[in-house]
C-alpha cells in the first residue's frame, strides 16, 4: 500500500470507516519512520551501556522538546507549500524581548509571555505579508528575515544582562518534564488544527495545488499569512521555554534551529514540496534526530561528526520523499 503519507485518514474519523481502520491507516503511514526510530534506538542500545538507562530516554524527549515546539510551526508552513528560514531568528528576538520585559521592566511573567508570543506571531505574519504582497519567493523573504531579525535581537540585547528570572517563569523550563509536556500539548493542538479546522485543513490544499485552491474560492494569501503567523508564534513559545530553562536570554540562541526543524519535519515524512504531512511525523523525526545526537555523544563521537551524520540523514530523507513522489 503506497498511500503511506496521505493525511486523509487522520482527518476523517468518518461514519463508515471504523475506528480500527483509521488506526490501521495511520499506522501504515508512519510505520517506516517508526521502524527507523526503533532500529536507531536499538543500535545505540546495543552499542552503549549508559544509553540504556531510562534517564537517557527521558533526556532525549527533554532535549527534543524545545526544537519540537518550533518544528510544529515549521510543519504547518511546509505543508502549506511555504518555507520559513527566519524562525531561528524570531526565536532569538522573542527570547531577548521576554528577557527585557522581566529583567529590566519588571513585568509579571504572564504578561511577558503573552507579549512575547504576540511578538513571535507578528514577526511571522510580517514574513507572510511581505511574500504575499511582493510575490518574492519564500526562500528569499525569510532568508532576509533570518538576517534582519537576528540583527534586531542583537540590538535589543546589547549591553543588557538578561538573566535571573522569577521562579514562576522558570517553572516553564523545569527539568525534562515540563518542556516535554508543553511539547506534547503543542503537538496535540497543532494536530487538531491541521486535521479538524477549516484553516488548518486548507493548508494541505494550498500546499498541494495553490491554483486549484484559489479557483475553489480559498483565500490563499490570507491563509498563508496565518500559517506564517502560527510558525512565528510557536518559535516564540519555544524561545520562552528555553529562556525559562536556561535562566538567561541572549541573541545567539536559536541559531540554525530553523534548519534542524526543517530536518526533523522532513525526516518524519512531511513533504518538503507541500500538501502532505502531519505533526506526529514531525515528533518522530525529531526523536530520530535527537536519538542519533545523544547516542553518538554516548559513543564518544564529537559534535562535528554528529552534524555530518544529521546532514546525511536529511539528504536520505528528502531523497526518499522525491522517490515516493515519482513512484506513485
Amino acid at each position: 500500500m503506497s498511500q503511506a503519507d496521505s493525511q486523509t485518514a487522520v482527518s476523517s474519523p468518518g461514519s463508515s470507516a471504523g475506528a480500527l481502520d483509521v488506526l490501521k491507516h495511520n499506522f501504515m503511514q508512519i510505520w517506516q519512520v517508526l521502524a527507523a526510530l526503533a532500529l536507531i534506538y536499538g543500535f545505540f542500545f546495543l552499542m552503549s551501556e549508559p544509553f540504556r538507562s531510562f534517564d537517557t530516554l527521558l533526556s532525549i524527549f527533554g532535549q527534543a522538546s524545545i526544537l519540537a515546539i518550533l518544528a510544529c510551526g515549521t510543519t504547518i508552513v511546509l505543508i502549506s507549500g511555504g518555507l520559513d528560514l527566519s524562525v531561528g531568528s524570531i526565536f532569538a528576538v522573542v527570547g531577548v524581548t521576554v528577557g527585557i520585559f522581566m529583567a529590566e521592566w519588571g513585568l509579571p511573567p504572564v504578561l511577558a509571555v503573552g507579549l512575547g508570543l504576540g511578538m513571535g506571531a507578528a514577526l511571522g505574519a510580517l514574513n507572510g505579508t511581505i511574500q504575499v504582497l511582493t510575490k518574492v519567493p519564500a526562500f528569499i523573504v525569510t532568508l532576509g528575515g533570518l538576517t534582519a531579525y537576528k540583527g534586531l535581537a542583537e540590538i535589543l540585547a546589547s549591553g543588557r544582562d538578561l538573566s535571573r528570572f522569577p521562579e514562576s517563569f522558570k517553572f516553564l523550563g523545569t527539568g525534562n518534564t515540563v518542556p516535554m509536556l508543553i511539547m506534547f500539548a503543542v503537538a496535540l493542538l497543532t494536530g487538531l488544527f491541521l486535521t479538524k479546522t477549516r484553516l488548518g485543513s486548507r493548508a494541505f490544499a494550498i500546499g498541494g495545488n495553490e491554483e486549484v485552491a484559489r479557483l475553489s474560492g480559498v483565500p490563499v494569501a490570507k491563509s498563508r499569512i496565518y500559517y506564517y503567523m502560527l510558525g512565528g508564534l510557536l518559535a516564540g513559545l519555544a524561545a520562552i521555554v528555553e529562556v525559562a530553562k536556561l535562566n538567561f536570554a541572549m541573541p545567539a540562541r536559536g541559531q540554525s534551529y530553523e534548519l534542524y526543524a526543517i530536518a526533523a519535519v522532513v525526516i518524519g515524512g512531511t513533504s518538503l514540496f507541500g500538501g502532505r504531512g502531519g505533526v506526529g511525523k514531525t515528533l518522530l523525526g525529531m526523536f530520530i534526530m535527537q536519538t542519533i545526537i545523544v547516542g553518538l555523544s554516548y559513543m564518544g563521537v564529537g559534535t562535528s561528526y554528529q552534524r555530518i551524520a544529521i546532514g546525511a540523514i536529511i539528504i536520505v530523507a528528502v531523497y526518499w520523499d522525491v522517490w515516493r513522489r515519482s513512484t506513485r
Binding site: T8, A9, S11, S12, S15, T197, R198, F204, G208, V212
Partner: protein, 263 residues
C-alpha cells in the same frame, strides 16, 4: 437524443457582451458575445489558441477581463474573482485544475466551502463538521450514480473518469444556475467519456445550464443544443446543433467555411 429547438425561446440565464482579453499587445479574445438559455447545453468549439479557455476564465473571474459586460438574469453582475462567480451561482470545472491530488475526495468537494460545526467549536475555532459533509457527499454520489468507494482516500488514487465524476458532482452540489466545463472528457477513455457525458446531460435535470468546451464533434452533436465557434480570439459562428453537421463545424473551426455569425 437531446431535446432541441425550444432552447431559443427559453429565458436567458447568462448574457456576456463584448468580452475581450488582451495580454499586452496580444489579443487573446476579441469582442466576444455569448448567450446561455435556461436548461441548455452550449458547446464552445475552436482550434487550439482560439480563445476557448480564455473566454471561460474571463467569464468566471479566474483572470481579469480587459473589457466586457456580464449579465445574469438580465442584471449586470460584477464577476472579478472565482468567488464572485460562485456567489452568482456559476460553478466551473477547469481542465487539469479540478481537484487537489493530495487531499481526500471529501475535502476536495467542499474545498473553499467547508461546513463548520454548528456549535462553539465551529464558531470560534472553525472546526469542521465531517459527519455532515460526508453525509451530503454520499447522498450526492448516490443521486448521480457516481461510484466512489472510499471518499477519504486522496484524489490521486482515483482514475481520470472518477475524478471527473467528482468534479462534475461538485457543480450539482454548488452550482445554482450555471455549470461551465473545460473539456470534461479531455483525458478520458471511451467508456469513461460516455460516463462523463451522461453526467453532463443529467446536469440539466438538476436545473443547471451548461457551457462546455470540447474538441469532440460527436459530443457536440449528441449532447449539446447550441454551439459557438471561436477562431483566433473571435466569435465566428453561433448555431443550433440541429442545423449543422460535423463537417460544417470543422470547416468553421479551421476557417475553410466562412459563415456569417448567426445568433
Amino acid at each position: 437524443m437531446t431535446p432541441q429547438g425550444d432552447s431559443v425561446q427559453r429565458p436567458l440565464v447568462l448574457e456576456a457582451q463584448g468580452i475581450s482579453k488582451h495580454y499586452g499587445g496580444i489579443v487573446a479574445l476579441d469582442d466576444v458575445d455569448l448567450t446561455l438559455h435556461e436548461g441548455e447545453v452550449l458547446a464552445v468549439v475552436g482550434d487550439n489558441g482560439a480563445g476557448k479557455s480564455t473566454l471561460i476564465k474571463a467569464l468566471t473571474g479566474a483572470i481579469p477581463k480587459t473589457a466586457g459586460v456580464v449579465k445574469f438574469d438580465g442584471v449586470e453582475t460584477q464577476i472579478d474573482t472565482p468567488t464572485d462567480a460562485k456567489a452568482a451561482g456559476i460553478e466551473t470545472v477547469y481542465q487539469d485544475l479540478a481537484l487537489v491530488n493530495e487531499i481526500s475526495i471529501t475535502k476536495n468537494v467542499f474545498l473553499g466551502r467547508e461546513i463548520l460545526r454548528d456549535d462553539w467549536l465551529g464558531r470560534w475555532f472553525g472546526v469542521l463538521d465531517f459527519k455532515k459533509m460526508d453525509g451530503e457527499i454520499r447522498d450526492l454520489f448516490s443521486k448521480l450514480d457516481v461510484r466512489i468507494a472510499d471518499i477519504y482516500r486522496e484524489a490521486q488514487a482515483f482514475s481520470g473518469g472518477q475524478r471527473q465524476a467528482v468534479a462534475l458532482s461538485k457543480t450539482v452540489m454548488f452550482g445554482k444556475r450555471v455549470a461551465i466545463l473545460d473539456e470534461p472528457t479531455a483525458a478520458l477513455g471511451v467508456r469513461e467519456s460516455k460516463m462523463a457525458m451522461d453526467l453532463v446531460r443529467s446536469l440539466k435535470d438538476h436545473g443547471l445550464s451548461v457551457i462546455m468546451i470540447t474538441h469532440n464533434m460527436q459530443h457536440v452533436l449528441n449532447y449539446c443544443d447550441r454551439v459557438m465557434v471561436l477562431r483566433l480570439g473571435k466569435l465566428v459562428a453561433v448555431c443550433d446543433v440541429k442545423d449543422v453537421d460535423g463537417d460544417a463545424l470543422v470547416g468553421l473551426i479551421t476557417g475553410a467555411t466562412d459563415a456569417g455569425a448567426t445568433a
